[in-house]
């Protein structure tokens, strides 16, 4: 099942540019969608599986982006080394932040992650001598991988596609493992998870770091691909969009998050024509999905099918599950 989904996805990603060569939608929009998928899949590990909201995820995306931008332009580091440095920075900051921030729940966690995102964004705007301020940093050299320079949209499509499939693969593996089950257990019944020997604080910290690493990875790729970064790409609104992607597709499903990311990217492309209405539609969509399909489009629909199936299969007067509570 896990592998089947992955292969369907992979085949689609490979076939698209072959069926539609030099198509603007496939290459340019595909690149944006791929980056969004990496971000959403990472955030979904944190939000969907571990149940921890983050309204500041653009900060980690930005750390990767700015690390690559600053290190390659200022000190002329090779792209891969700058990317590693970005991962190191984002991972370390996530690790330091995880314990105090993930002790918070609900609204408090939302506020804290949001505040963190704003603080990092202000730094991007204000630390002008490093970041170039509101104007951003340009002239980022193209990414060079073992002597191969990535410099056309089509090449970027393939690089991002590979990166995206890698991230999806890692995520699928992780979720269906001892670590992933522990995470889902923490989200579902934290006390019971602890009693099964799961160090819940450690589990949350780990997943926070992983999702930050995925975001920083996407940030580095983004910086090289655009050859330019500015604070606008890492603002609070971007964090909100990332959350939207995860919930749009459906939390706690890797493919759901991926589909949400692709759907929102396409929606943005489609709404370019109605630029003035973009915010309106974005907001209305967010509300409608949360009200009518709180499990998200992808998960809501697939679960609907699955439910119907099992409902027919086992129509025996099953009691409603009791609400878990501290005994």
């Amino acid at each position: 099942m896990r592998l089947a989904g992955f292969f369907v996805f992979a085949v689609a990603v490979i076939l698209l540019p072959i069926l539609f060569p030099d198509n603007y939608f496939v290459t340019v929009v595909g690149i944006a969608a791929g980056l969004h998928v990496i971000l959403a899949v990472g955030l979904n590990l944190l939000m969907g599986y571990a149940g921890q909201i983050s309204l500041g995820h653009a900060a980690f995306f930005g750390m990767g982006g700015y690390a690559s931008a600053i290190l390659t332009t200022r000190w002329e580091w090779p792209g891969w080394l700058a990317m590693l440095a970005g991962l190191l920075v984002a991972g370390t900051i996530a690790w330091l932040l995880a314990r105090p921030i993930l002790r918070l729940r609900g609204h408090y966690l939302a506020m804290a992650t949001l505040g963190f995102g704003v603080i990092i964004h202000v730094l991007m705007v204000q630390a002008t001598e490093w970041t170039g301020g509101p104007d951003g940093l340009g002239n980022i050299p193209p990414l060079n991988l073992l002597g191969w320079t990535v410099d056309s949209d089509r090449q970027w499509y393939w690089v991002i596609a590979v990166a995206m499939l890698l991230v999806i693969g890692l995520s699928l593996n992780l979720v269906d493992s001892r670590i992933g089950r522990a995470l889902r257990a923490v989200r579902s019944a934290e006390l019971a998870a602890q009693m099964m020997g799961i160090d819940t604080a450690r589990a949350k910290t780990q997943v926070f770091v992983v999702s930050a690493l995925f975001a920083a990875f996407a940030g580095s790729l983004f910086a090289h691909q655009q050859a330019f970064v500015s604070p606008d790409s890492f603002s609070l609104m971007i964090s909100v969009e990332l959350v939207t992607m995860v919930v749009l597709g459906g939390m706690a499903s890797t493919f759901g998050a991926a589909c949400g990311a692709i759907a929102l990217t396409l929606l943005h492309e489609g709404l370019v024509v109605f630029e003035d209405y973009e915010m309106l539609i974005h907001g209305a969509l967010l509300m409608a999905v949360m009200i009518f399909l709180p499990q998200g489009l992808f998960v809501g629909l697939t679960q609907g099918v699955h439910r119907g199936w099992t409902w027919i299969a086992s129509r025996r007067g099953a009691k409603e599950p009791h609400h878990p509570a501290v005994s």
């Binding site: 493992s177 019944a189 006390l191 998870a193 009693m195 099964m196 020997g197 799961i198 706690a252 878990p324």
Partner: protein, 263 residues
């Protein structure tokens, strides 16, 4: 009465737990000998579940000592206590409702496996081997609890009685030395309760020490080796079932009402 058993697995000494001045446990002492079924009974509010929660590290006791196999439990977080070999079920179900029965029980095996984050993400060959091992262990626990045919179902979709069994299977999968069962018979019908009695006996036969909090007197009296009676957070009596049944203080505390059983 409190003579030290040579093979005491759990020793509780002068345990006190107060919540803002209310004494939920007022100096409770007892010892659980290894490989026995040790039952804790008492009216509602006597402090039974509080005792479990203190044992598991959810509350930190106001005073007293808790020793398990030579380790002091006081001050340890729940996951460290679990690592010493204690597992439990919950009075109010604490299942992972959105996971399958098999996955629930595999979480129970958490401490018996080693797979870390990186190797899990890369799904290295040894991770696959370990997954197979976990499945086998989980299947064993499911088999013992008679849940083998439910492995693939969502835990949240099971009937109540089976959910309670999944909790037991999950706790067993941890291969605990001490198993805490918090009112396993609550909400079960007579047939289910009988089956539960057999299950507890089977678990006991595998060498697990069982600490049982239960209201269902016929069940308790027929399966417990020793009983501890709590009332208002204090020990009212302690001894084998026959002694407890004849204890006038116990009978008085229950006002004859709940003690209508025949052995």
């Amino acid at each position: 009465m409190m003579t030290a058993h040579s093979s005491s697995l759990l020793t509780v000494e002068a345990l006190e737990q107060s919540f803002g001045g209310v004494m939920a446990l007022a100096g409770v002492s007892f010892q659980t000998p290894e490989k026995l079924v040790y039952a804790i009974i008492g009216p509602n509010g006597a402090g039974k579940t509080t005792l479990f929660n203190v044992l598991c590290g959810f509350y930190s006791p106001t005073a007293g000592a808790l020793r398990f196999d030579g380790h002091e439990l006081r001050g340890l977080p729940p996951h460290r206590i679990a690592a010493l070999g204690i597992a439990r079920t919950f009075q109010n179900l604490q299942l992972f409702f959105n996971m399958t029965v098999l996955e629930n029980v595999m979480v129970g095996c958490h401490l018996r496996a080693k797979t870390g984050l990186l190797s899990a993400a890369l799904r290295l060959p040894r991770v696959r081997r370990e997954e197979r091992q976990l499945r086998a262990w989980a299947a064993e626990a499911l088999e013992l609890c008679g849940l083998s045919d439910r492995a693939g179902q969502l835990a949240g979709a099971l009937p109540y009685g089976l959910m309670k069994r999944v909790e037991i299977a999950r706790a067993l999968a941890a291969k605990p030395r001490l198993l805490l069962l918090d009112e396993p018979a609550a909400g079960l019908n007579d047939t289910e309760t009988m089956a539960l009695r057999d299950l507890i006996a089977r678990i006991h036969a595998t060498g697990v020490t069982i600490l049982l909090v239960e209201h269902h007197m016929p069940l308790v009296m027929s399966i417990a080796d020793r009983l501890l009676v709590l009332d208002y957070g204090s020990v009212l009596a302690e001894g084998p079932p026959v002694e407890i049944q004849a204890n006038p203080r116990v009978i008085a505390a229950y006002l004859g009402g709940a003690v209508q059983y025949a052995v």
